[in-house]
Symmetry: C2
């Protein structure tokens, strides 16, 4: 069976994966870009820029960053990662943060309680808007993945649901040495999660700490 | 001026410094001893056992653990670290978790809203029960410290107050790769704390990550 993976998911020392007050000019709310600065310098993230920047670091951060799309056939994300708008899709003009040719190049399942037709983008990305429990959404995603792995792309709310349903095989979490004070917490009520995962840690010269969670077999 | 320091303060990945339900047979509540296991193996912590155990590890964890009392002339702790009882000191028999000859060998200021006479123990430890704001308590502690440094011993509530009052010079926080789900959080509302401290991280073979916070001058 294909794996269910989390990559490059960044969390502050106080456990927040996004700040408060997400909006169009502040995708991470009051956190600004502090959670993602470690990533922007890497070759992988530069290549994901809308116009694709050459160069970028190739050290520890890049080693982790570059794994995100290897053997992945689909992403599942929450609708708050997809965009800053809430409620019904009044403005179907919104097609995500990633431009006309999004970085995914695979199907993407966007979890939402508000229905919306599938959105075909350039470069192989299609956004499927799905209202379903994690296990059902995962089944649908696997059908779209052509046998390849499933990435759970976030945000925190989405990852929490898949963790709580015990559906995640491996996670790469990036602990960023900042404190946000408020926002969206990744960890809520996971007493004893370490019994299900082997957890390893390695610090990067950039200051972040890469954590890997590997499900015990 | 002498420094104000935190040492060996252990926090779970989800930010808890103690579990829920602290009581006599569960000093860390439902967390059991999971937060402190990294420490019990070290030479420093073994020597602190009531009967003083010889041996113990002398690697990365010991390097950090052993710094806790060097040049320290006083500790400030909260009354919940001192013991599991709450409210007035009905039972003045309680003299802390540390036996007749406590590990401190210095004066200790116990913050509490409930007055109690100073308690003289063997080996140089005296417990002074003080009801005061952090800055006032720190002044009193400095008078007891004979020019040496002040350790803020925890728990979380006490450290939060000294951090919020901007009174801490350096902290050694141990990130333990466990999740507790509930309990006493260390981090509450410290948006941007990284602007005041240089933060370094090093993982230990035991699985914990040692973090140092050094106040920017
Ligand atoms: N730190 C990182 O590495 C990282 C990574 C990705 C994103 N982010 C940030 O995280 C924030 C978004 O995260 P978030 O935790 O707020 O939310 P999220 O997980 O992106 O989305 C949550 C929303 O998705 C919908 N949804 C989730 N599960 C569903 C289900 N089972 N069925 C139907 N609908 C479901 C609901 O919206 P409706 O009810 O409105 O449909 C829910 O409110 C953004 O600020 C983003 O920039 C951070
Ligand atoms: N993780 C670690 O490394 C570590 C280290 C030490 C302790 N611990 C654990 O942490 C827990 C205790 O921590 P905690 O956060 O619950 O509490 P704490 O900081 O030990 O004590 C808080 C209590 O001290 C009194 N107090 C605090 N500040 C005061 C002030 N300015 N003036 C007067 N009184 C004041 C108040 O009690 P009253 O109003 O009742 O007097 C307050 O409820 C225990 O489970 C302990 O085992 C963990």
């Amino acid at each position: 069976m294909s794996s269910v993976r989390v990559h490059n998911f960044s969390v502050s020392l106080d456990g927040f994966a996004a700040g408060e007050g997400q909006q169009l000019d502040a995708p991470f709310g009051h956190a600004g870009m502090r959670l993602m600065e470690w990533a922007f310098g890497t070759r992988t993230f530069r290549a994901m820029e809308i116009h694709g920047e050459p160069g970028g670091s190739v050290g520890v951060d890049e080693a982790f960053a570059s794994a995100w799309n290897v053997d992945v056939g689909v992403e599942i994300m929450g609708r708050n990662k997809f965009g800053p708008y809430r409620g019904p899709w009044n403005d179907e003009e919104w097609k995500g943060w990633w431009g006309d040719d999004p970085v995914f190049h695979t199907p993407v399942v966007v979890l939402t309680h508000h229905s919306r037709p599938t959105l075909q983008m350039a470069g192989g990305t299609t956004f499927h808007f799905v209202d379903a429990e994690p296990s059902t959404a995962l089944e649908q995603a696997r059908e779209l993945a052509g046998g390849r792995d499933v990435r759970i792309g976030g945000g925190a709310d989405t990852i929490r649901q898949f963790l709580a349903a015990d559906l995640i095989d491996r996670m790469h979490i990036v602990l960023v040495p900042i404190l946000l004070g408020r926002g969206e917490r990744l960890w809520e009520g996971f007493d004893g999660l370490e019994d299900s995962f082997d957890i390893e840690a390695v610090p990067s010269p950039s200051g972040v700490i890469h954590l890997t969670f590997t499900r015990r077999s």
